[in-house]
Amino acid sequence: MDTFLQQLVNGLTAGSVYAVVALGYTMVYGIIQLINFAHGEVVMIGAMVAFTVINALAPTGLSPLAVVLVGTACAIPVCMLVGYSMERLAYRPLRSAPRLAPLITAIGVSILLQHLAMLVWSRNVLAFPQIIDNTSYTLGGASITNVQLAIIAVCVALMGGLALLVYRTQLGTAMRATAQNPHVAGLMGVDVNRVIAATFVIGAALGAVAGVLYGTYYGVAQYTMGSILGLKAFSAAVLGGIGNIPGAMLGGVLLGLVEALGAGYIGDLSDLCAYGWIADLMGEQCEAGHFILFGSNYQDVFAFLVLILVLVFRPSGLLGERVGDRA
């Protein structure tokens, strides 16, 4: 039971980061039906910028919280700029082009950003300075650290903030209007270009925070980290119903949980020797006690398994039917 609870805590932490990244995918898709494959790279750049700042400030003796906050404060504008530039330079010129063109451009932007980051920050795995003291709290047998609590809290706050922005402000109304029909929204006096740019910038800012959280949680950053994180977040967005904001949040958390539980239990479940009749068939192979078909290295597979299952059985995702609410 302790193990199960602990896996839930692990999954919840990873899942809330996925959720925040997934928001970036889903917002952009909702408004211009583009899957921005470069979003994972924005997250990576957020983590890298934060790494540089935190690394520089760590020896100064400032309080760890202040250092991380300054790091985040630097990462956000950089990512916003990256988000704005890619919309302005790479996607806007192609807005009326066939849908395949911007999609391929997105992949191109992703490769471009990855290699730029490689030139700036090298190929090495960068280790975040360990400045935060980990304090563990025990919660019914599962331990949860202050960092994990902070990550979950920040993610919930960001999601809440975004919901307020989308459903309670003028910009949010304009975003929803543009999502429903950009031409009509334009006729109603909405500056469509500005709204789309704002969507990219907000998504990038969320990505920056997610990058910092991911980097400080695992303690490492590398120029390639954005691709797998981005693909997982994209799967989360599809799971929840791409284009749907609450869907991305739900999808992210669910994906985190599926992954943690999957990686935690697949080894035991696929241990052929644990099943009496198969063990008899296997004979000698089981004398050592175990014959594990799938180990925990299949952890990353779950995200894509989920993606495939959703696409086959429920292409619109869990909350995907609320098409009208897209933003």
Partner: protein
């Protein structure tokens, strides 16, 4: 609009070029014309001089270069003639393909012997080329067992093998920490799985229970699911076969989850980098490296190296120094620089170098190669024991004995 597209294309092209630009031309050898009466003998060295581990490649090269320069300064004579040794240094970029190219280049330029390559990944594909040409090659740092398992008479190494390293760390763990239950994890690479298998075999032979193998990948950063599962089984020790980039997060997350077990690693994660990656959690980890730390090498070598290159040797320089000296010693013994003639002398050599006594077994592996066990103390890995021929010697005693 078209300008903009052009601009993006240009940026993309520039980046692509920059990415390709890393393939710098190989370092050229300094071939000076020899005095007419002297016998000219070329000795090659191959290691990565560009890329992520260029500093290690340079360290290896320096070791071999020092040996060759010393042999020249000592006016070594072979067959009655004074020998002028020429040092030919090549860059394999730690890339298997480039490794075979430069191997062919060395063979074509008629080197008498080669020191290298640094990596197992480049040494293995290059070895048939040297074998076919009949040119002896001695690696001072390639630890993959396969290198000397191919049956090539020309292939030697002066460093230990991975399948000696696994047993070394496992037996150290078994005898000093006396665990009852050990969890073994690997990163599903040839290296990680190989060393983890050896560790598991040794532990089981010592009647220590081993949990079913857990696996990650060489890119895994989230180990929480695996570690949570292990925490439920409560092992006394954990061994991870993999590199520091994944081992650091593993250790850090293990401590966060409150796992009290001793963490142990192979040479891939036996670096100071572990402190940065795992923070204070890294203190007390155990890890192994093939060979002996450079500080434990012969004092005369250390001083000569420092004097010549103004830096201390980093990792394998004492081994490449010995490798080059072995080639020269075998030539002197056979009284010929012809590979065909001196190869048998090299196989039977009995030599004392900067890293101790060297003799080869029939495969070309060093007999009784040493392994070193390290622990992390205050952010630096420190040698604590040397294992040789199944015998464990505390490091301090070993160093005293060597001097």
């Amino acid at each position: 609009m078209n300008d903009m597209k052009l601009g993006i294309t240009l940026i993309a092209a520039a980046v692509a070029l920059a990415a390709c630009g890393e393939q710098k031309p190989a370092a050229k050898a300094e071939a000076k014309p020899a005095a007419p009466s002297a016998l000219e003998v070329k000795i090659g060295h191959v290691g990565p001089l560009t890329g992520g581990i260029a500093h290690l490649g340079k360290d290896n090269e320096n070791g071999a270069r020092l040996a060759v320069e010393e042999a020249n300064a000592a006016r070594t004579r072979i067959d009655g003639k004074e020998v002028k040794f020429t040092f030919v240094a090549e860059d394999d970029q730690a890339d298997p393909k480039t490794g075979t190219t430069v191997a062919q280049k060395l063979v074509d330029s008629k080197v008498a012997g080669v020191v290298g390559h640094l990596n197992s990944g480049t040494s293995i594909p290059a070895s048939p080329i040297y074998n076919q040409a009949g040119i002896p090659v001695i690696s001072g740092s390639a630890t993959n067992p396969k290198l000397t398992e191919q049956g090539f008479k020309t292939q030697f190494r002066v460093v230990g093998r991975d399948d000696q390293q696994g047993p070394a760390i496992a037996s150290y763990l078994a005898t000093t920490k006396k665990p009852k239950l050990v969890a073994v994890i690997d990163d599903a690479t040839a290296y990680g799985e190989g060393i983890a298998n050896e560790v598991e075999k040794t532990l089981k032979a010592a009647n220590i229970k081993v949990l079913p193998r857990e696996k990650g990948t060489d890119k895994t950063t989230d180990w929480k699911a695996v570690l949570t599962k292990l925490r439920g089984r409560n092992p006394d020790a954990v061994f991870y076969g993999g590199m520091d980039a994944t081992g650091g997060p593993l250790l850090k997350q293990g401590r966060e989850l409150g796992i009290k077990a001793v963490f142990s690693f192979g040479d891939g994660a036996c670096t100071d980098e572990m402190t940065k990656l795992a923070g204070p959690a890294s203190d007390g980890l155990l890890c192994s490296q093939a060979g002996i730390p450079p500080q434990a090498a012969d004092k005369r070598f250390l001083e000569a190296y420092k004097k010549r290159f103004n830096v201390d040797p980093i990792l394998y320089a004492p081994f490449t120094y010995d490798a080059a000296n072995l080639l020269i010693a075998a030539m002197q013994k056979a009284n010929s620089a012809d590979p065909k003639v001196y190869l048998p002398a090299l196989q039977k050599i009995d030599f004392t170098g900067a890293t101790g006594k060297i003799a080869f077994d029939e495969k070309g592996d060093r007999k009784d190669a040493e392994m070193t066990i390290f622990t992390m103390k205050g952010g630096k890995i420190e040698p604590i024991a040397i294992i040789k021929g199944g015998k464990t010697t505390p490091y301090a005693e070993f160093v005293k004995g060597a001097k």
